[in-house]
Symmetry: C2
DNA sequence: CCTTGCCTTGACGCTGACGACAAGGTTTAG
DNA sequence: CTAAACCTTGTCGTCAGCGTCAAGGCAAGG
């Protein structure tokens, strides 16, 4: 399978696949004419990468999962390094949820205050003589 | 007050203040020698900007608040345009909270699955002959 | 006079995951 | 013979909010 076909089947672009390769996540063979040749396993790898990136992982976070798949596992999750990343990411998300919750709180109270203290359509004469 | 003093009092850098000016958020006077001169009102403006950016607003989102302050209001929140932005941002945050919650769910179940199906320290011989 | 310490306007770097384009080689079909 | 449709490497652009020089002007103290 050439890069175009893989891109289509994985739902990405050829640019993306070359990008992943440049960052050491995918290792295609090369045919005589220099074309990249991928096997079915690489398709699974690419889909794993995409799934994790969609969830907010960075390329570096993805590496253990790829290695895990490459090691022969049917799932990229089951290796210790992957579990470590999963734990870390879960903690990060929890952290972010907390902060975002606080932000939400603040926005809400700010909005309440704003509505309570409504002032006229902004650029208007100072509240003195109507 | 010159740019250095304002930067210190606002807890930012001179670079940042010039950046805000370049984006039309701050309008300092100029002294004879070309130095930027700020008054106390600009300090409040800068603090408003900082507070909003810290909460995740973009510079464009901040504009109505600055205009509101500049219009003579003691709070940047009370003008209609500011309220619109607050509502929109609150909606965005809620949206983000939802998606992040879903991600958290997925990570959690992925982690559970991973722990249940634990495989040996990753790069190891295929599960066949121990 | 010289240094120190402000200030000025550029202009490039950074982070991440690509998009877009350039200039060219290869293979197949007509 | 040529056009179409693949492929290659390389380089620059994107978004945001600045950090970080670079090169120079201006004011005051010793």
């Amino acid at each position: 399978m050439l890069i175009g076909e893989l891109a289509e089947r994985a739902g990405t672009s050829t640019r993306t696949l070359r990008y992943y390769e440049a960052h050491g996540l995918v290792h295609p063979q090369r045919s005589a004419n220099g074309y990249r040749v991928y096997d079915e396993a690489e398709l699974r790898v690419v889909r794993e990468i995409r799934a994790l990136l969609d969830v907010g992982f960075g390329l570096d976070d993805v590496r253990p999962f790829v290695a895990c798949l490459r090691a022969g596992n049917t799932s990229g999750d089951v290796c210790p390094d992957s579990v470590l990343v999963l734990r870390r990411k879960l903690a990060e998300v929890d952290d972010y949820l907390d902060r975002l919750g606080a932000v939400r709180q603040q926005l809400h109270s700010q909005l309440t205050h704003a509505i309570a203290h409504r002032e006229e359509p902004c650029p208007r004469r100072r509240a003195s003589a109507p």
